[in-house]
Point group: C6
């Protein structure tokens, strides 16, 4: 079912863009934290490559805790559960990397995610954002869902040329090189209401 963007009230909920045989679609990545020893649980019918994206996101934040003003210990003191609805649909591929790392960063900092923003891009362990496929379909889906800003890898800039201007109207694009670029754009300074104390 085609979904509408649903706001930014929750820490750890980030809008991604997926691409299937039947077109683009928005999807949500949800992160929930619970006291523990740093375990990572992944649900939502995820394939191995998508699970690796979550592992990369977790590891990247662990080794860049200070840049997000997080104590490194939080990653050992909290279990992370990442879920991608809808459970009946198998999902795979590396393109949710940026969405996952933003979801995790929002959950750990309890900072709000920018409104009406969606994103797609592979991440690497050193923090690069790599280009992904299906850009045209993803943009159309984002627009349909009410998204107004989109984060893409700089190396996906060229893919916009093949899209008619009319489809791009009303959309603001952010082209990024690194995970830190993504987080700078996506995470607001303000925290969500009733933030959980993560430390």
């Amino acid at each position: 079912s085609k979904e509408k963007y649903q706001g930014n009230d929750f820490a750890g909920v980030v809008t991604g863009l997926a691409w299937t045989a039947v077109g683009g679609e928005i999807l949500y990545v949800e992160t929930s934290l619970s006291k523990g020893k740093g375990a990572l649980t992944l649900t939502g019918n995820l394939g191995d490559v998508m699970k690796e994206s979550a592992m990369l996101a977790h590891e990247y934040l662990k080794s860049h805790a200070e840049q997000l003003e997080l104590k490194p210990e939080v990653f050992n003191n909290w279990n992370v559960h990442i879920h991608v609805p809808e459970g009946a649909i198998p999902k795979d591929g590396p393109s949710a990397g940026v969405t996952m790392v933003t979801s995790l960063a929002s959950a750990f900092t309890q900072r709000k995610v920018k409104k009406n923003l969606a994103m797609t891009g592979e991440i690497t362990l050193r923090g690069k954002v790599l280009p992904v496929g299906g850009i045209k379909e993803k943009i159309l889906a984002a627009k349909r869902a009410g998204i107004t800003e989109i984060i893409l890898s700089e190396d996906n800039k060229k893919n916009l040329e093949e899209i008619k201007n009319i489809y791009l109207k009303g959309l603001k694009f952010h082209f990024v090189k690194t995970i830190m670029d993504v987080l700078d754009i996506a995470l607001l300074k303000t925290k969500v209401e009733k933030p959980v104390l993560v430390n």
Copy 2:
């Protein structure tokens, strides 16, 4: 075999609605707690997606303990075993999500589940209730089994239009957006007889 609704004497036993090739059916989700370290055991010939629903339900309650007036520690001090009879029948899909989270919440609070109530709906980690398929068949099955109230996702409301009024007669519907909506409707304030002391 077509079953009848069997009352609400047990904490942790909740009536769900399933949909198979041969029609709708009610099914029970049963939760049993035992002292432990928070392990989750799942039986009843469950597929991976259905197992993920149970993980989501467990995680959701863990991070929303206070809303149910539960100490967060209980989730680390009790092992959870969820069973869905009948063992010979393979079961899968996300639609038992609401039934599982209600079963778990009833087991941990020892609150009774509302009588003659059945439910179906996918849950997500942030607490949304998503629509599911087979609504018509599930409603017919619920009625046959003696159910009088049904909880559905608000996004399944539209599916009722395609069902003749005669089949809906005598049924009360609750359309919900969130897990908390489900628990508000499904869990009574009264506890079961001889409640287990969960803390």
Copy 3:
């Protein structure tokens, strides 16, 4: 090979009824306890559904220890090994549930099992006994083996109507609703000779 009933000298050895393509047969469920941390080991070429029956039986007794006058700690202090001979024959399905829970209960209480008794029925986590298939073949097999009393789910009562009276002669049936019904019938008050001290 067609077996004969072999007496009730051992705690934890209970006679079940199985049903295969070539007819009914009696089988034994054997439980052995050893000091440990509550691990459950299952042997006898068992399929996943039959293994789940053993998990259900173990969990049920754990959360109903007091009704059997057992200290709840015993389930954490003793490892359980359940075996179903014969090792070369694959076995599956939920119908050994009642046999397994009786075997475990006898092992933990060291109470003798009623003589010349066999049983078949699925169990659920809340303690219900569900009906199973192959009743006619199982009854014939029980008689051949020298069994004189049989425990069945109340919902299997109707299956006796299709069996000629001559086959039922000399057999006493117990129709049960719950696991506690089964244990009340199957476990004698007397303990086996030289009982193990389980605590």
Copy 4:
């Protein structure tokens, strides 16, 4: 390759009888102990049913330690490694049960195994010895290898009738009902040279 019986110098080495498409053969079960926490390691290209035989043998001895004048703690203080040469040949089935339990008992007691003795039979958790197939082929193989005494399940006695007397000449048979019968026959009172101190 057809092997010859190789003496009884080693604790934990017992001669079994196997049966394959190309005839009977003797095989050795070897047990080695090393200080540890009671782990059980199985090698020799063994199938699941044969592995279960080893688990049954280990468990049986654990819960009958006193009858062998062993302290129950030894099973938690020593790791057990059971190997069945030759590694290139897959082996399966329950018929090595008696051989495995004798091998383990010899290793833990350091008692010598009776000379020129071979055996075959399934074991159960309560200590029964069940009949197995291929008796004729196994007996021929034993004789060829220089074996003079054979342990069989009492229920395999009838299989000797179909074997010509000339093949049975020079062989002494022991028909047993229980594991304890096997150990009484197979384990000598004398220990091996330079026994390991197992406690």
Copy 5:
């Protein structure tokens, strides 16, 4: 997509050479360390043989810590995560061995990797560098990407003879026998900016 060499700013990022059906390509091996107990995590859609290369690299450095002026304890105090982008492409084979051991050594020492350098070669546990296939295609890819120095096994020297001189122009080759030869060439004495304190 054909990539360009991307500099040597990061500790633990090393340029390797891969060879697929569609030609040679450069790839990056990235290593990230985080406080832990020495666990090794591998991502990037890696096959079993490539995972074994990472295990060999880790083990080799562990047992040759002193030669790199590392305390042996660091391998037990830090978890290692090795990633090979791009996640959508399955990768396998032993030829990334030298790249992995250099990546790990750079991460643990925080020493910079030589600029414009790429490498390919299998490693063994005793520290040998074995020859690999696809040398011609790999060299062409390296040149295209802006690489100017290449490390190969001495046993791959002969493969250069079959390549036209024009393709080799502007490339400097290092033929090595051992892992230590590789590290001597690839690791600079200078550390990266803001090195992590690994001890």
Copy 6:
């Protein structure tokens, strides 16, 4: 690629003989030790039977530590990594048993392995050396590689008769019955240069 024998400078590196569809070949077994709790890691694309050989070798040495003048504790204080290059080639079968046990013994004792020596043979847990296949091809390969002494199972002696004398010229054979025979021949009294202190 056809390899040449490469000397005996390293503790834990032993030359074995393998046999494939395309003829015989020498291969190396390499063992590396690192401080730990006795874990056994196996790499080199090894099949299950070859992995079992390594487990047998490890277990055998553990229970015969004193004969090698090793403290039994060393096996619990050191992790063992065994690798068989080349990683791209799948390897299986029991015939590397003698090579593995010699590699392990050399690593733990730091004693040099006899020069120009190769070996092939299956081992058992009680220390026997069993015959293996492909003797002719293995001998030819050994000679080609510069090997001058070969260890074989006594039961492989007969296989030499079918080989023309010209191929055996310049080769010295050692026919062994036990693992201890192998180690007596293969391990020199002198230690490698800069031996690791294993205790």
